[in-house]
Every structure is written in structure tokens, then in C-alpha cells.
């Protein structure tokens, strides 16, 4: 489903560069839920951005559904992100000028679907994550938990094969975190979709199928 090998990432110029990842390998199978833990600054976001085809790694290969994401043209890569990958960010990152429904519709609209089609899909998902009553509200008018639920709905609306979530509960209070974690696990249990969660949360990390830990640029599986 998602397979990455030999990922090297660094920031800065050649002489003063910070090597964040030094040869990370990871394979996630269909329906698998995987967590990556690590201290702040260890490179979790960097890893997710490389796997999500958002930031080109210095070296390494990222296979998304057997396609080498970084070998594709920019347009094809954008299409691959649209269809196969969903993102959830630490800060919901909803578009402030659009209602929750419109936010959830956005990936479908980018894919070129009609707005009726997109709206009905969005409503179904908002229903599923339990915030359909907030569908026509703007993000600034709803609570943090509701925003994150909308962001999760947006991440899965295109039925992606893999969802990359970067500290999805990192910015929520304890109770809301638990709700959102439960929601993610519920969605994960549906089967065909894989999840890669970068998280500090022990609860979330312990609920997943496999765990990796990231330190000093090395990714190792916690057995």
C-alpha cells in the first residue's frame, strides 16, 4: 500500500545542514494502522511530508499503491495525493472561508466531481463523524474537536488508501482527544484503509497494529 525505503531528509544548506532522517524504511499494508512516536523535533512531520509527497526527500523511494510518487510529474503527483492519500494535521488546517461541508467537499471538487455529488458525500461523512448539525458553519464558529472531526472527514472523503495523520490529537484537550482517537480507531477498523499516525499519545499508540519510534533520524519498529 505504502512502502518507503531509504528516506534521507535534511534541512538547510550543504555546510550547515540538519540531517533529520537517515535512511528510514517503512511498509504499511492494506488496512493496517501504524503509529510513529518520537520526541518533538525528531522528524515525524518531516517523515509524513516525505511519505505524503509534500516534500521531496534527499534520497529514497516512496511507493504509493505501487507507484513511485517522487518519479511522477508534478501534476500526476498532485493527482495521486488527491486520490490515494488523505491528510490530517495537528492544527485542523480547515479553510477558514469555507463552511465545514465545503471543506469536506474540497478534495472531491479538486478531483473534478460535481458539487451535488461532492455535497452528498460530504454530508454522509459529516454524519459519520457526528457533526452533520454543524455542516453549514464556518470553522471559526465550531469547537476544536469538531474542527478536527471535519478535518478527518475531509481526509477520507476521497476514500484514500492511506491516511497520514500528524499528531491529530496534539492540540486537543484530554476528553476531546479520546473522542477523536476513538473516531480514528473506528474508521481504521472499517478495514480497507491504512493509517499512519504520528503521535505523542500513549493511548493512541497502544491501540494500533504496529508501532515505530523515531530517534536520531532512525526509524525502528517497536516490537
Amino acid at each position: 500500500m505504502l512502502a518507503a525505503s531509504g528516506i534521507y531528509c535534511s534541512y538547510g544548506s550543504a555546510d550547515a545542514s540538519i540531517k533529520v532522517l537517515r535512511g528510514a524504511d517503512i511498509t504499511i499494508k492494506v488496512g493496517e494502522v501504524v503509529a510513529v512516536t518520537g520526541p518533538s523535533g525528531s522528524g515525524k512531520s518531516t517523515l509524513l511530508h516525505a511519505l505524503g509527497l509534500l516534500e521531496r526527500p534527499d534520497r529514497g523511494k516512496v511507493l504509493v499503491c505501487d507507484e513511485d510518487g517522487w518519479e511522477l510529474s508534478t501534476r500526476k503527483r498532485a493527482e495521486l495525493r488527491n486520490r490515494k492519500i488523505g491528510f490530517v494535521f495537528q492544527f485542523h488546517h480547515l479553510l477558514e472561508e469555507f463552511t465545514l461541508r465545503e471543506n469536506v467537499m474540497m478534495p472531491c471538487l479538486i478531483a473534478g466531481e460535481s458539487s451535488e455529488e461532492a455535497a452528498s458525500k460530504a454530508d454522509r461523512l459529516l454524519e459519520k463523524v457526528g457533526i452533520i448539525h454543524r455542516a453549514s458553519h464556518f470553522p471559526s464558529r465550531v469547537s476544536g474537536g469538531e474542527k478536527q472531526r471535519a478535518a478527518i472527514a475531509r481526509a477520507i472523503v476521497m476514500k484514500p488508501d492511506i491516511v497520514l495523520a500528524d499528531e491529530p490529537t496534539g492540540n486537543l484537550d484530554a476528553d476531546t482527544s479520546v473522542e477523536v482517537e476513538n473516531l480514528i480507531m473506528k474508521l481504521a477498523d472499517e478495514g480497507s484503509r491504512s493509517f499512519l499516525l504520528a503521535t505523542h499519545s500513549q493511548d493512541l499508540a497502544s491501540a494500533v497494529h504496529r508501532r515505530f519510534s523515531l530517534s536520531s533520524g532512525v526509524l525502528s519498529e517497536v516490537l
Binding site: E55, R83, L95, E96, E97, I110, G112
Partner: protein
Amino acid sequence: MKQKLLWALARRHVWSDANSTVVRMVSALSITGVAIGVAALVILQAFMGGFTEAIATGLTAMNPPLHIFVPGGGQMDDFDLGAVQSIALGVPGITSVVGVLEKPAVVSGAPGTVTGAMVRGTDNAVLTVGVDLARELDIRAGDEIRIASTAGVEISGMGRVLVDTIVALVVDSVRDFGIEEYNCSLIVLPMNTARNIFRAHGELTSLGAYVSSGTDPVMASEMLNTALYEEYVGGGWPVYMSCIPFLAFHGNLFKALGLERIAMTIVLALITVVALLNLSSALTMIAMEHRRDIGVMRAMGLSPSGVFRISIFRGFLLGGSGAVIGLAFSWISIFAVNRFFPIKLDGSVYWIDVLPGVFPVTTAFIVTLSTILVCLAVSAFPAFSALTHSPSEALRYE
């Protein structure tokens, strides 16, 4: 569909209830700036153009478009008219050539009124008096006026003597000639009557030629002038006739008006340039505000070209609405000024007594088009800079 999405994004980025007040204010200010620039240019052109046009129309309404005369002020007569008529036959676009006899005279109307006037005799004319002159003489159509000239010369046994002629005539109509100078001094009447008044047998002061509609008077005048030159000077005559377009008499006036118009256009174009600079900083700010949103859109699969187009569309929306508002505003103000608040001028100075605004369609089109083009150009900068960031950078941007 995709295009519609990009427009929706651009539109909400520049104007949405959910925007911060700062963004909305910046958008509103830049739209206002562009609107003011466009309106200023269009309104200026409307009134400068309206003034020039009113004068030109007034002058051409009362005078044939081509003026044929003897350089140095020599006399002409019916024989010359016949000669010029046959020469003009060979010039395409000229429909007819007429004789004009125009001389000053003294006129009196209602008892106790008397004033100087310019009397112009042409064929097929009826006795028409300028409105201001009629008011001064206190007469209406149907009233009688008396025209006296001292221009008649008779040779009697005592030698040459000047003879007064006084002719009483009934006014056929009183007319607004459009030009103040004509309104307060011109009397048009049939050629025979004029010759009677001035005791001029066969004499003419100038000739006028008419051109068919669609013929450029300047071109026709050049061709007739060449034909006249060939005929007379080519034929060995020392004196020949010249032809100029009537408006060329006032060439200096039109040149001065044109120069003034260019100068003012440049000044007002600078306003528009400042407005567009303001627009470009507004666009940059809006782009900064939405950097993260663009990162999110990229993560969801928006292509770089989509990002680029959103930026361009933002510029188009701000500049385009500014231009449209400016156009609407200028149209309304021109209409309102003409209709409700006419600008009064001193007719004795400016020839016309109301300054008309004529909506300048071509100028408005050019101004709008170039404003929008420049808007697109200034939005290209934020558009390219949006492309240089990787989606990941934009996402880290808090």
C-alpha cells in the same frame, strides 16, 4: 468545474464574511483605488472630449466642411464658383460647392434696438437669426428686422460714393447655432438678399464645399487643394485658390485642447498607477494570509497551475471589480451632471455655455482593458512566489 472551484477560492480569499477585517479592508481599499483611477480617467475624457466635440459640432453645423478662399483675401465671384465646381467634380467624395458672401452690417429689430451683425448669404438659405442676437433685437420668427450696410459703392457723376442701403426683412426662424459667437452675431439669409444688401453683383467672399458622409474632410480638402493648384498655377495663373478643412481655421484651439487633454490624462494615469501599486501590495498580503490554505489545497491534490490561477484570479477579481465600479460611477456621474447639474460656462469665453459630458466609449474600453491587464500582471508576482514554495513549507507556516 475545476475552474469554478478556483474562482470560488479566489473570491473567498479576497472577500468573505469569514475573512479577517484586515483582509476585507485591504480588498475594499484596493478596489476603491482602482475605481477612482478608472473613474477619474473616464470622467476627464468625457468632459474634455465633450467640450472639443461640442465646439467642433457647432462649427461644422454652421459651416461647410471645406473652405475655399483666395490667399491674401482677394475677391471671388460667380465665375470662380463655376470654375471650382467643375474642378471639384473630379475629386471623389465632394458632393457640392456653394458660394458664400459674408460681411458685417448694422441691424435693428424692435424699436430702439440696433447692433452690429455678421450677415451671411448662401443659396437655399432662409432668414435665420442667432438666439442671442434675436433677444438683443427683441424679435421672434415672423417679426421684421432692418439690415443696413455701408458697403455699397456707386460711381456717380461726382466720383465714387458710399451709399447706404437699408433693407427690411421678415425673420423666418431664430436658431441656437451651438456656438455663442454665432448666436450673438450671425444672420443667415438667401444669397440674392445678401447681394441686395451689399450691392454686390456676382461677388463672393469665399466658397464652401460639402462632402458625402463617410468622407474624411481633411483628405478631401487635400485632394481639392492639389486639384486647384494644378489647375491654376499649372495653367500659368499667378493667383490660385486654396482649400482647407473648415476646422483647420481653429487648428490651434484643437491642438491646445488636445495637449491639455494629454497632460491631464498623464496626471490621472499616475493615479491609476498608484492604485495598481496598492493593489499589488494588497494581493501580496492576501497571498501571505492564505499561504497555509494553499499548502492544504496542495496536500489535497491541487496542482501548481491551480495555485497559480487562484492568484491570478484574485488580481482579476479586485482589479476587475474596481474597473467596473469605476466605469459605473463615471457613467452615473456623467449622466447626473448632464441631467441635473449642468456645468455652466461663460459662452463669450468658451463659445458654448454648457459643458456637455460625452461617455467616451473607446477610452473607457481601453482604460478598463489596460487596467485589468496590469492587474493580471501585478498578480503574477504573488502567483509565481506561491509556486516556489513546496506544499510542506506552506503547511509549516503558522
